[in-house]
Symmetry: C3
């Protein structure tokens, strides 16, 4: 049973669904969904609702839009598995927060330390966002850089990395039933 | 010989060329190119012309900008292989059609059913469009979501899924000479 | 020891760092970094400085913003390994140069010929830029097409092709210690 699993893929590549299946195969109970999403428009609220409808009552939801490292440390003490979905939104939240946006390297370190210290298996989901052309918008470029830096760091920490495309999971680091 | 093959990759990743090679290895004759493209500007007309120049006279072309499922059912009865290029343009055509744009789930179901019923091997090409940052344009986001949903469904139906990058085919589902 | 290695990945996927590690494993000395980058703003100057700081004094830097094929031919005669970083910026430089922008096919041929003639191992880095939605900007579409065409050609020439995502190298052509 890998302790840290990282699932990365493009938008609508099936990464959340696959991560959920992995989590359900990891722990029969005490599953915690760590949501980084703070829905701020109808489009996002719809998406959150669809994801929730896919999870049954064996799941508990915890919101961690900003203080994800502490949430992982605390929650992992009494859980069977944590599913963190997703790191891309967490990055967005940090970059939009005036007190946190200029300390991304610190937050990345803290997340890596929290994963090291976690008391149960953790599955993290993130988006591959660097596969298109360079965005014209400077904030979008900065976002893309931080997400890429964070993804590399978490993939380096992870025991298992799974890349998804068109719903197909491809294990690119670690073995097991990816 | 896999019945349904799905080839997915980014723009200019060599997916159409690879799909054509697979089709030519699948059937010596009665090859049908199912074009979803309705070229509406010079740039697209050029692209279509270049693709046509790559196919010899062993190929017949059928246009199916909208009613792709019926075309697959009908054409597969008397063909050696169908090459459908591509699902991304088909999605665009449906989303731009006032009578069809709000029934995407129905069209995705119909395509999956037509593939199930097909009487000859079918090779389908699609674009990976979810690897960049979130588009600012709402229609582009909607397009990206539907293409991703369709790609997942077709990959789930397919006996073989091949991902292409820089012209290199990588078999990510099913075995064989990918 | 593969003669030509091609490393491709999205922005911030770890491709440059992996290419540098490969180069350092290939030759103990006489390592040449062939920079295609002509930094024209602070953001790029920063990025160049960060990359330079990662390379020690066993590296020599040669700039080749435009005449990359000749630089590879000449430099390879007296080097242990060349690291060309990156083909995407080279394409940008050619497309922005009034005397070269309409001869991309010629430049792609020349690069392929220079790699064929190279006297030492060459490692080339490029971006996957075709994974997002179609850009609205015509120049961006043209850029994306040329980068894709170039990437396919170089991958076809290469003895080894490595795709990177989240810092994880995945060998997709050729064997060895990818």
């Amino acid at each position: 049973m890998p302790k840290i699993t990282f699932v990365i893929g493009g938008c609508r590549s099936g990464k959340s669904r696959h991560a959920q299946e992995l989590a359900e195969a990891t722990a029969p109970a005490n599953r915690v969904y760590v949501a980084t999403c703070v829905p701020y428009d109808d489009e996002m609220r719809d998406r959150v609702r669809k994801h929730q409808a896919d999870r049954d009552r064996t799941w508990k939801t915890v919101e961690a839009p900003l203080d994800l490292p502490d949430t992982i440390r605390d929650t992992s003490r009494e859980s069977g598995v944590l599913l963190v979905d997703c790191l891309t939104l967490w990055t967005t939240n940090l970059l939009l927060d005036p007190e946190r946006s200029d300390r991304m390297p610190l937050w990345i370190d803290r997340l890596a330390e929290a994963l090291e210290a976690a008391q149960c298996p953790v599955i993290l989901v993130s988006n591959e966002v660097g596969g298109g052309i360079v965005p014209e918008n400077a904030l979008a470029r900065q976002f893309r850089d931080w997400v890429g830096t964070l993804n590399q760091r978490i993939a380096a920490c992870a025991d298992r990395v799974i890349w998804t495309v068109a719903g197909i999971p491809v294990t690119i680091k670690g073995g097991g039933s990816g």
